[in-house]
């Protein structure tokens, strides 16, 4: 009977390293029992098998035929470079198609077992949570990856025969590591998504949180490959590894017996969710003895958040700084020719320009506030799919542009004091507001990584969302309004008087 628990021989091993090795082997052996069953099951399901087969064997043929034709075609025009870039790119695509199935298999393996209630007997066995988790991850990753390797081989043999193409070894290593990491990334994401869903259908809906970022990622990789900036792919790989590790950690956390069964009657109830969120935003104390004055409420629930946001705020600030420097460097590399910038008599044109841009009067204020809010919401929205990274990028962008413009203006010999006059007054308010908003949305996006110990991922996210909404409405929005008033009513005066003084 002892064999099912960790063998005592392992626990008694002296050397920690040897013990770790033995334990890993033991865990793996246990996990593989699960993997074997799931893979066998999968091999009996033609709904999964047939598409994988097509993508693995048939598609590489088509890709290879197409690549051959195009290579021969462009060679007539001595544009061989297109062909050269195309073959590695198709290599990536051929490798990626089969692994896209890892997502489907994983959703089926995690959410499907939950839905069919076949998880409970498994949880009743002496298998540890980790063994079960590893077994299921392997079952979702290994078959698609094998199919992917097969597809790549078919494709490479094909291009070797048809156009005598031999891939550099390093490219093969890159494509294969990218493919493998993306498979693990999607599966790790699928586990997290499945932990929040009670049915395969719901999990599939939530899976867009995985599909959309991965689709962007593939496009990015394709772009990089067309530029032949192959060394950049290593950085992409590193990024994927980091995110995958984060997702795997989240997965292990949400993959425990209590949560897997504890939520089997918990359905997505939008109305109830909204009401709960509303209550969390208002943050009213139930106990009458603890009721607070409006000011005390504002201090506790809004202002008190500010110091807690120092870390994401610092991150945003540093990113903005980097972006500014990059913008300046770009301006030095790509100076705008002087004659393209009409600097004559701009003082006369300035008010008309402002009017055309709609930056006058109350309407102007509304417009400026709206634009700022929109940028934050877009960043926050992207951040939700990307653990907060999208928000950082959106916050960086304007500073890159500002840096670029500044540098251009100063190389053109225009007195930058005008730009200072145009930017500084409202920025004093606006930049802290952007910083706060970005920090809050980054925290929201990242809140799923590490929910408080007594909360599930969903609950932790709700708390962060309520905090973010409270901060946005209670502090960021008023700051935006003040900044916009300054920008529309005061800044033009300053700029004009400054210009007159020149």
């Amino acid at each position: 009977m002892q064999t099912m628990l960790t063998p005592t021989s392992i626990e008694e091993t002296r050397s920690p390293f040897v013990r770790w090795l033995l334990l890993t082997r033991w865990n793996l052996a246990r996990a593989l029992i699960i993997t074997r069953r799931e893979v066998t099951d999968m091999l009996r399901d033609w709904r999964i098998l047939a598409p994988i087969f097509i993508l693995t064997v048939v598609f590489p043929f088509i890709a290879n035929w197409g690549a051959g034709r195009i290579v021969n075609y462009v060679e007539q025009f001595e544009a061989a470079i297109i062909g050269e870039r195309l073959i590695p790119f198709l290599l990536l695509v051929v490798g990626f198609f089969p692994i896209s199935f890892s997502l489907i298999i994983a959703l089926e393996s995690f959410a499907g077992e939950k839905e069919r209630r076949s998880l409970e007997p498994l949880l009743d066995t002496p298998l540890t949570d980790l063994q079960l988790y590893i077994g299921k991850i392997l079952a979702s990753v290994v078959p698609p990856l094998a199919a992917s390797a097969l597809g790549i081989t078919v494709y490479l043999v094909g291009v070797f025969i048809s156009v005598d193409y031999r891939p550099p070894l390093i490219l093969l290593v890159q494509v294969f590591s990218l493919t493998a990491m993306q498979a693990i990334l999607m599966v790790a994401g699928a586990v997290v998504v499945s932990s929040q869903a009670t049915s395969v259908r719901a999990a599939n809906l939530l899976a867009s949180f995985i599909i959309i970022p991965v689709a962007f990622l593939i496009q990015l990789e394709a772009f990089i490959m067309f530029l032949a900036a192959y060394s950049v792919l290593w950085w992409v790989l590193l990024g994927i590894v980091v995110i995958t590790v984060v997702l795997l950690r989240m997965g292990v956390r949400s993959f425990n017996r209590e949560e897997l069964l504890g939520r089997d009657i918990d359905e997505l109830d939008l109305y109830k969710g909204m009401r709960r969120l509303g209550a969390m935003i208002v943050a009213k104390r139930d106990d009458p003895a603890q009721r607070r004055s409006p000011w005390a409420w504002y201090r506790d629930e809004v202002l008190a958040q500010v110091p807690r946001l120092w870390m994401p705020a610092l991150l945003t600030l540093v990113s903005m700084g980097i972006s500014l420097v990059v913008g300046i460097q770009y301006a030095e590399q790509f100076p705008i020719p002087e004659e393209m910038v009409a600097v004559e008599d701009w003082e006369e044109q300035f008010p008309t320009l402002l009017g055309e841009a709609g930056l006058t009067g109350v309407g102007g204020v509304v417009r400026v506030v709206f634009q700022n809010a929109r940028a934050i919401l877009i960043g926050g929205g992207l951040g939700m799919f990307t653990l907060g990274i999208g928000m950082v990028l959106v916050a960086m962008l304007p500073f890159g542009i500002i840096g670029f413009v500044f540098a251009q203006v100063s190389t053109l010999g225009i007195d930058p004091s005008l730009l200072y006059a145009a930017l500084i007054p409202h920025s004093i308010i606006e930049i802290p507001a952007i910083l706060l908003a970005s920090a809050a949305f980054i925290r929201l996006g990242a809140s799923v990584i590490a929910p408080p110990p007594d909360k599930t991922i969903g609950q932790g996210w709700m708390v962060a969302l309520a905090d973010t909404i409270r901060l946005s409405v209670g502090l960021v929005l008023p700051l935006f309004i003040i900044a916009a008033v300054i920008e529309v009513f005061i800044t033009p005066q300053i700029v004009l008087s400054q210009a007159a003084g020149l």
């Binding site: 029992i33 399901d45 076949s118």
Partner: protein, 304 residues
């Protein structure tokens, strides 16, 4: 073997199990009865360390369910409410898979699987896909899975709910044998005859609390009063009832029968029969009117 102390489980805003204290010895069957949603399954899940108790403690087969969850699971066979079989697998593959998870060596798990399925009349179906099994066959297979690793403790959540009478009989016989081997068994069921037949002790649970417990006889005596007996006579009852009322408590009577209660039938019945014979009354039958556990159950569950 199984011991719980103030076991409690709180879901978000629902107290599903409220300080349940139980004790089941080896060779004993405890039936856990109660209406839908009473907390039976939740209790069983805490005993296999799937759900963590919010408060209280439990030990199963000598292991604490929180601290030694893995050992607990290794020593418990559990028939879950939802059987969760893999329909694309054959019965044999399924049992082999679970056998491996329980760490049984390959040859032995094949032998055990055959022996157990034979006992439940499932051997012929062993190589068919589970998807083709009927409801009752699936339940039997799940039961075989629970017994595969020869566990000293069994937790059976509604073991016969989907079975035909013959299969249910087989399963009940098997449970009796298992008890005979000195195993410790908790059984939840909605079939009160089954509970009465199998259980050494019964616990009735309502809204998470145990509201009545004891042997079937104790429960009946406590809730339905002393046993009810019926005498049938050869002729008319006439004045007999008044005479009998000195000795026993009359429940009801008709023209040739009387129903009465007595706390000590073994003492009062012989006296009564002698008395009646002395009076020249012909006693045709004297029998105990069976009072069902169902009545006990309904009374317990409905009272506030």
């Amino acid at each position: 073997m199984i011991e719980t102390n103030g076991l409690t489980k709180q879901f978000d805003d629902l107290l599903a199990v409220d300080s349940v204290t139980l004790q089941v010895e080896p060779g004993e069957v405890l039936a856990l009865l109660g209406p839908n949603g009473a907390g039976k399954t939740t209790t069983v899940r805490m005993l296999t360390s799937i759900l963590k108790p919010t408060a209280g403690s439990a030990s199963v087969a000598g292991y604490d369910v929180v601290k030694h969850a893995q050992q607990v699971r290794a020593h418990v066979g559990i028939l879950t409410e939802a059987h969760g079989l893999y329909l694309r697998q054959a019965g044999r593959e399924y049992l082999d898979f679970y056998g491996a998870l329980y760490g049984i060596e390959a040859g032995q798990r094949a032998r055990r699987a055959e022996r157990l399925t034979e006992r439940f009349g499932l051997l012929e179906a062993l190589d068919r896909r589970i998807g083709e099994y009927s409801k009752g066959m699936r339940q039997k297979l799940a039961l075989v899975r629970a017994l595969l690793h020869d566990p000293p403790v069994l937790l059976l959540d509604e073991p016969t709910s989907a079975m035909d009478p013959h299969s249910a009989r087989q399963v009940r016989d098997a449970i009796k044998d298992l008890r005979g081997d000195g195993r410790c068994i908790i059984l939840t069921t909605h079939n009160l005859n089954e509970a009465e037949e199998l259980a050494d002790r019964i616990a009735i649970i309502r809204k998470g609390t145990i509201v009545a417990r004891g042997t079937p006889l104790e429960l009946k005596a406590r809730l339905l009063g002393p046993p009810l007996l019926e005498v049938r006579f050869g002729g008319e009852v006439n004045g007999l009832v008044e005479n009998m009322a000195d000795l026993v408590e009359i429940d009801s009577h008709g023209h040739n029968w009387v129903r009465y209660r007595t706390p000590e039938p073994s003492r009062t019945n012989p006296i009564l029969i002698k008395q009646l014979a002395a009076e020249g009354v012909d006693v045709v039958t004297l029998s105990e009117v069976s009072q069902s556990l169902e009545e006990v159950y309904l009374r317990v569950v409905n009272e506030n």
